[in-house]
């Protein structure tokens, strides 16, 4: 029987206020399992502001600092500077921010934090829209997706622009570590968190976190949908350590994206031609990723 690799210690209480099937709630739980109790989490305005429950309670067994939506990167630099100034050793400084708070309004502070080599971990939990305010499109919303501000009516066909490539933006800053994570693959998730935890310097995670009310799917299907996101190639799992990319899940043939899209009502207006366009894009992106991995492996380091 395979040995369980995920720490049994729970640093998140069950009494949080997330929706059923919430990907971000599951991600926080796994993240803290990987990091351990000596962790301070800085959280901007996002679903987790509310999920943690209102004053005077908290759902986490670690320190939690609120910061405005656009300031997470700067908050991490401040926390780390204070920890260093006060001689606090072995403390994980971690940001846990939504996609809007990262790829849109928080991009400047994130870039600043990466550029000044802040010794901290930034986690972007990506539910692909402004979910806490009620499903408005963000820069991380994928092409064609319905949101309340990219309606499907009067000739409009969901979001007309493609999703912003946050990993490419982050990698351009040469962090010591960057990875994609998916709570549907908890062993891979926690292993990466543990690996990042033990490194020094700026570290970044892009977590895909399904949102049942925002993506319009049955909340019992969060794990299955998350698995499809990776196994269709839409959200490949990889890590980049000191610039070397390594894909951490390969299953041979990619599943058709239509399976993933059909499971969510936010895509139900897509035509067969739309789906074929997405499929073509995913295939090309996957080939590019394989190519990058091959090049990195063959490069002396």
């Amino acid at each position: 029987m395979a040995k369980l690799t995920i720490p049994s210690q729970e640093l998140m209480y069950a009494g949080h206020s997330a929706c059923p099937g919430c990907g971000p709630a599951l991600s926080m739980r796994l993240l803290l399992k990987g990091l351990g109790p000596r962790t301070i989490v800085s959280v901007p305005a996002c679903c987790w502001t509310v999920v943690d429950t209102p004053y005077p309670t908290t759902a986490l067994k670690v320190g939690f600092l609120d910061n405005p939506i656009e300031a997470t990167g700067a908050s991490l630099s401040g926390l780390r500077a204070a920890a260093d100034a006060l001689g606090m050793k072995d403390v994980n400084i971690v940001g846990f921010a939504g996609d809007g708070g990262t790829v849109d309004i928080g991009l400047q502070a994130l870039s600043g934090m990466l550029e000044r080599r802040t010794n901290a971990i930034y986690v972007m939990y990506d539910n692909e829209a402004y979910m806490n305010t009620g499903i408005q499109r963000s820069g991380a919303t994928p092409w064609g997706a319905w949101t309340t501000t990219t309606p499907v009516s009067g000739g409009h066909h969901g979001k007309p622009e493609p999703k912003k490539d946050i990993m490419a933006i982050v990698l351009a800053h040469h962090p010591v570590y960057a990875a994609t994570i998916n709570p549907s693959f908890p062993e891979d998730f926690v292993r990466k968190v543990e690996r990042a935890r033990d490194l020094v310097g700026p570290r970044f995670f892009h977590a895909l976190t399904p949102c049942p009310p925002g993506w319009k799917f049955d909340s019992a299907q969060t794990i299955a949908l998350g698995r499809l996101a990776t196994d269709t190639g839409l959200f490949p799992l990889y890590e980049v350590v000191d610039g070397q990319l390594h894909i951490t899940r390969k299953t041979g043939e990619l599943k058709p994206v239509a399976e993933y899209l059909a499971a969510q009502s936010r895509f139900r207006h897509l035509t067969p031609a739309d789906i074929e366009q997405i499929q073509g894009q995913v295939r090309a992106d996957w080939q590019r990723l394989l190519q990058r991995e091959r090049e990195d492996l063959s490069r002396p380091h």
């Binding site: 109790p37 000596r38 962790t39 301070i40 800085s42 502001t49 509310v50 943690d52 209102p54 004053y55 005077p56 908290t58 986490l60 067994k61 670690v62 320190g63 939690f64 600092l65 609120d66 910061n67 405005p68 656009e70 300031a71 990167g73 700067a74 908050s75 991490l76 630099s77 401040g78 926390l79 500077a81 204070a82 920890a83 260093d84 100034a85 006060l86 606090m88 072995d90 403390v91 400047q108 502070a109 870039s111 600043g112 550029e115 000044r116």
Partner: protein, 393 residues
């Protein structure tokens, strides 16, 4: 003590050095830059053991200070004008979090049009954010007030952030002899920050949080009560400062020759020094005039302002700032304070020195003459080209 020839900006830097700040974060903006350049030098040479976090905006600078303060560090930042305006959301955040950040503000005009001259409109626009605000008139007062600001901001009955505002160029880039106290004496006045209401690694706690209307008002009221305690705590802090360093700057509203004055001019910042000499001239000519300096603007020294009404029938308020559709911001405050005074002097609002205009003795004399004349109280915009009221006219 050592007498050093320092600019107002360097007086800020030396005060932060003596306060043994642990985290500094700032973004360059004229005319603030030399404050943080000097601090960067102190850190580089090892004279100051602090983390200097260079950031990509003023917004991030203040967030760095807030987050560092949330973990228990003593923090300092400095900015001017547009930089302060960019910080605005976080200016509120710092007081809401009850983080005792101290910020040097080099008061500079707000654009457009671009102008780097002295003007209080930048920090006046932050007056409702829950920060303690000081306005000072000399480089010595800069240094002393920054040290007092740390003590006050971190005081267990206060725990609010504080700004020490100095006029661009008149102080920031003008050198004066400044008595720089020795580090050990400053340590006795300003011990390390107490660790209270801060995050501790390994312990569950949330700073910030969210609430419904039930608890929200409690948080706001607690901050308001803390602000209301500032005048008394500041009196104690200033008395102790005087006892240790033998120097005082006269509390929240230092007054000059106001006894039996018919007319009093209320000033802020550097124009006070000029106005003091004009009061002497006018007194010598037999005019019963006096002066009061709004050194502490937040919290507003309401009781001290009411006492100005004891003899004066006319009070003029010289704002180096403007509001639109209202008299000057300090004039508004003075008027409101006098409403409940036993006597009701007429209040005249002067908007002067805007955008770095010199406020000369000639101009101050003009203000007193206007005040003493039989004109109805109103708001006067001075220095306007078309009116021909020239600073050096």
């Amino acid at each position: 003590m050592v007498l050093k020839v320092l600019s107002g900006n360097y007086a800020q830097s030396y005060a932060a050095l003596l306060a043994r700040v642990q985290v500094i974060s700032a973004y360059p903006i004229t005319p603030q830059t030399s404050i943080v350049e000097k601090l960067a030098e102190f850190v580089a040479t090892g004279e100051l053991r602090a983390q200097f976090v260079e950031v990509e905006s003023e917004h991030s600078a203040l967030q760095v200070c807030i987050s560092a303060a949330a973990l228990g560090a003593r923090t300092y930042t400095a900015t001017s004008s547009q930089g302060l305006l960019l910080m605005h959301e976080l200016v509120h955040w710092a007081s809401g979090m009850r983080t005792p950040v101290v910020m040097g503000v080099v008061n500079r005009a707000v654009g457009p049009p671009w102008n780097i001259g002295a003007d209080h409109t930048d920090s006046m626009s932050q007056r409702d954010t829950g920060w303690i605000q000081f306005y000072v008139e000399s480089n010595q007062e800069v240094l002393d007030t920054v040290l007092e600001a740390f003590r006050l901001a971190e005081h267990p009955e206060v725990r609010l952030p504080a700004m020490v505002c100095e006029d661009a160029f008149y102080l920031s880039h003008t050198v004066e002899p400044v008595d720089v106290p020795d580090a050990a004496t400053v340590d006795s006045f300003l011990p390390p920050r107490e660790r209270h209401a801060v995050l501790v690694p390994g312990q569950a706690a949330r700073l910030g949080s969210f609430t419904g209307p039930d608890h929200y008002v409690d948080f706001r009221r607690e901050a308001a009560d803390a602000m209301a305690r500032v005048p008394k705590v500041f009196e104690e802090v200033e008395a102790e400062y005087e006892r240790i360093f033998g120097r005082s700057h006269g509390g929240a509203l230092p007054s000059y020759r106001t006894d039996g004055a018919d007319a009093i001019l209320v000033t802020m910042g550097t124009m006070t020094t000029t106005a003091r000499s004009v009061v002497d001239e006018l007194r010598a000519e037999g005019q019963k005039v006096g002066l009061a300096k709004l050194r502490l603007f937040r919290p507003f020294p309401e009781d001290a302002v009411r006492r100005l009404a004891a003899s004066a029938d006319r009070i003029g308020v010289a704002d180096r700032a403007y509001t639109f559709g209202r008299m000057g911001p300090a004039a508004t405050e003075v008027s409101a304070a006098l409403y409940t005074a036993p006597r009701h002097p007429a209040v005249t609002s002067f908007l002067t020195g805007i955008g770095g205009r010199d406020v000369t003795p000639h101009e101050v004399r003009h203000l007193f003459e206007t005040l003493l004349s039989s004109e109805e109280p109103k708001t006067h915009w001075l220095d306007l080209e078309e009116e021909g009221v020239k600073a050096d006219g």
